[in-house]
């Protein structure tokens, strides 16, 4: 049997809108994933948590804006560390036009408000641990 899929769910320290991501954490745990939840100030915090926890998936939740630089730095950082097999997804209040750019950058998918946790779970199962990963698409 494969080792359980490990997921880092993280949101900015100053973003109070954590209701969705914390619910998602529970759903994913119930579905058998190992989930770590953290807050981050800068993208390096996300990278070091991902490294330390050796995760397969990074999920960034952002509902207060200012997400583009975080994703940019994170994707660059993953490439530099050759962690391109890590699947990155995002959620929260992210404009459709930003989502298009993020997918071009290699982010797997952006899930908006009201999105179904079941869809997120299915997406992860379908795309996780693919070599090369979604991150270098």
């Amino acid at each position: 049997m494969d080792a359980p899929i490990r997921i880092l769910l993280t949101k900015p320290t100053h973003d109070c809108h954590d209701r969705g991501v914390r619910y998602l954490m529970r759903v994913l745990r119930d579905a058998g994933f190992e989930v770590v939840f953290t807050n981050f100030l800068v993208s390096d915090d996300v990278l070091s948590a991902a490294l330390q926890e050796d995760v397969d998936v990074i999920g960034i939740s952002s509902s207060a804006g200012g997400h583009m630089p975080v994703f940019e730095e994170l994707m660059d950082g993953l490439r530099e560390r050759e962690m391109t097999d890590v699947l990155v997804i995002g959620g929260g209040i992210i404009a459709d036009s930003d989502a298009v750019r993020l997918r071009e950058m290699g982010v797997g998918e952006i899930f908006g408000p009201g999105g179904s946790p079941a869809d997120i779970e299915a997406f992860i199962r379908q795309h996780v641990r693919r070599q090369p990963g979604v991150a270098v698409r």
């Binding site: 973003d15 954590d18 619910y23 800068v42 207060a64 804006g65 459709d96 908006g112 009201g114």
Partner: protein, 575 residues
């Protein structure tokens, strides 16, 4: 409240209704919806399908009171909205101070009005300020002017309030834990314009308590309570017109809590705060009148109204009986309504206007003092000018066109509303008393209890939405293919560059010697404060040192760095 004869008739009528009702429900069999068989409120309180006089037989007129009399269930004042309607308080804040100012002026031109000819500006600071950083910190990248205004020091405040007479406005500063630096800077702005602190009107949030249920980095709970008391102590002496604290139930309901939890926790916060201020040497009648309250107005129309009426009752009785409040103002719950943002949808966004209109009507019927109506595009982005205007129009239509402002507490006497008010009040008291048994709000926060309770409610709600038991138009029913996302509002990327330029200019041009001396003194006071007990407070030395630092043009980021270092800073609701 009713004669024996009336109660007998009431029971007879209820029995007759019950028979007829049951016949109808039986015809539907399994197809009868839950609300027909086992109705409950969104908080999960069981309710009935029809109400009769005997449902409120225990309610005595003394408990109900009149509008303006103890225990104020029916309203703080004899007149509710007849002479002056509620204040329009849309949340404003994005981009540079100049951008925010343009929106303030625009909304004022659209009729945004406060009390007595004063304009109320409900101003939110940006993510960088909330985090306690300066805009050139690496953690600020992409966040200047996002979700709030890029105001970090006295010069920025001067840009924001340029040409406005501060005595003629009410400036509401929506800050999180940078509340002391922001108030200090506003006091100094007043000084620069020849005004004493007691001439300033406005509000500080003093929101340390929300760390129990909101997931932003925060000071430790014990330090937060002391910081609240420090600000209140200073203002009780120097700023009698300043609203020092906003007990924020809104964020609790938005985080997934119920109406019952919202007001139960608000009362628990009030108890802790009252004890802290008394320990710091401030008398209840000297600080309670300047405490305000912020409620969510969400989807269960009658429960949300009952919640407001219940809160007025339990707050008044608790402050009077437990803390010896005498002044009616000390017992009043002055309400700022924020219509719920969490129940709005990104799907079919214009439908949100219908939701917020219903919320706002509920707030008007429950006797609110001030209102923010969420914008219909809030689930997509920062509100556009059009959306912000329509939110103001919602308030204006209710005020001008519906005649609901003619009568105080118009739902009083409704068997359902009175019965539900009583139910909600009792259930909320149970929450507050449970917290009391844990040693008070701060202890319950540190034990993780409040967060866990809120999260449990949030999950219950979500499961009900997933199963379709709780219906949301556009999300799990009446779903349509969504058209391409409409044009949404974005903050000009130039904001960050200019904000950085300005903070660097400030550092180069301010009086360095004076700044260094003021920061040294501030650090000494913060270090002393970190070790102080509640009963050591009341000398206002921390506030005075913060004001002195603001005079020396210290930025929010600089002051917060010192506070974080000495008081502690980290993940919320755990320490």
């Amino acid at each position: 409240m009713f004669s024996e004869e009336t109660l007998v008739s009431s029971r007879r009528l209820a029995a007759e209704w019950e028979r007829n009702y049951q016949k109808m429900v039986d015809r539907f069999g399994e197809n009868a919806p839950t609300r027909a068989r086992a109705p409950e409120t969104h908080s999960g309180l069981p309710i009935k399908n029809a109400y009769f006089p005997h449902d409120i037989e225990d309610l005595d007129l003394g408990v109900m009171g009149a509008p303006g009399s103890y225990p104020f269930t029916r309203g703080n004042l004899a007149a509710q909205h007849q002479l002056m309607s509620w204040a329009n308080q849309p949340v404003i804040g994005y981009g540079l101070p100049e951008h925010t100012r343009a929106r303030m002026d625009f909304l004022e031109s659209q009729g945004m009005a406060g009390y007595f000819g004063q304009t109320f500006y409900n101003l939110v600071y940006d993510l960088v300020s909330h985090e306690g950083l300066d805009p050139d910190h690496p953690g600020a990248r992409g966040r200047s002017g996002q979700c709030g205004m890029a105001v970090y020091n006295v010069r920025d405040m001067d840009r924001l309030f340029k040409g406005l007479d501060l005595r003629r406005i009410n400036a509401i500063h929506i800050t999180y834990y940078q509340v002391i630096p922001a108030l200090a800077q506003y006091i100094v702005l007043g000084e620069q314009r020849g005004l004493r602190p007691d001439e300033l009107r406005g509000n500080s949030m003093n929101w340390y308590h929300q760390a129990a249920y909101v997931g932003m980095s925060a000071f430790p709970a014990d330090q937060g309570l002391k910081l609240s008391a420090e600000l209140i102590s200073y203002c009780s002496k120097h700023m009698p017109r300043w609203n020092t604290t906003n007990i924020v139930g809104y964020c609790l309901e938005e985080a997934g809590g119920t109406a019952v939890q919202e007001i139960g926790v608000m009362l628990a916060v009030g108890r802790d705060l009252a004890r802290a201020c008394i320990a710091a040497g401030v008398k209840p009648d000297d600080f309670l009148p300047r405490i305000g309250f912020q409620f969510a107005q969400a989807n269960d129309f009658f429960e949300e109204i009952a919640k407001i009426r219940a809160m007025r009752r339990i707050w008044a009785t608790t402050m009077h009986e437990e803390f010896g409040a005498r002044d009616p103002k000390s017992m009043n719950v002055r309400i700022h309504t924020h219509t719920s943002g969490a129940v709005l949808t990104a799907q079919q966004p214009l439908v949100n206007l219908i939701r917020t209109s219903i919320h706002a009507l509920g707030a008007a019927l429950s006797g609110t003092q001030a209102m923010e109506v969420s914008a219909y595009d809030e689930a997509l982005a920062i509100p556009s000018e059009e959306a912000a205007t329509l939110s103001l129009r919602v308030q204006q239509v209710i005020e001008e066109e519906t005649n609901v402002c003619a009568v105080s507490d118009p739902l009083a006497g409704s068997y359902y509303v009175e019965s539900l008010t009583d139910r909600v009040a009792k259930a909320a008291m149970k929450v507050a008393d449970e917290i009391e048994q844990m040693g008070g709000f701060v202890e319950a926060q540190k034990a993780g209890w409040i967060r866990a309770e809120v999260e449990r409610s949030s999950e219950r709600w979500r499961e009900m939405v997933n199963s379709g038991e709780r219906r949301i138009v556009g999300l799990n029913c009446h779903v349509v293919e969504e058209p391409e996302q409409p044009e949404i509002f974005k903050v000009d990327p130039e904001v960050q560059r200019i904000a950085i330029e300005r903070i660097q200019e400030l550092r180069e041009t301010r009086d360095q010697t004076r700044h260094a001396a003021a920061m040294e003194r501030f650090e000494e006071e913060v270090a002393r404060f970190a070790k102080a007990e509640l009963q050591d407070l009341g000398n206002d030395r921390l506030m005075e040192a913060a004001i002195d630092a603001a005079r020396a043009e210290a930025s929010t980021g600089e002051m917060m760095a010192v506070m974080k270092a000495h008081l502690g800073w980290g993940a919320p609701h755990e320490f």
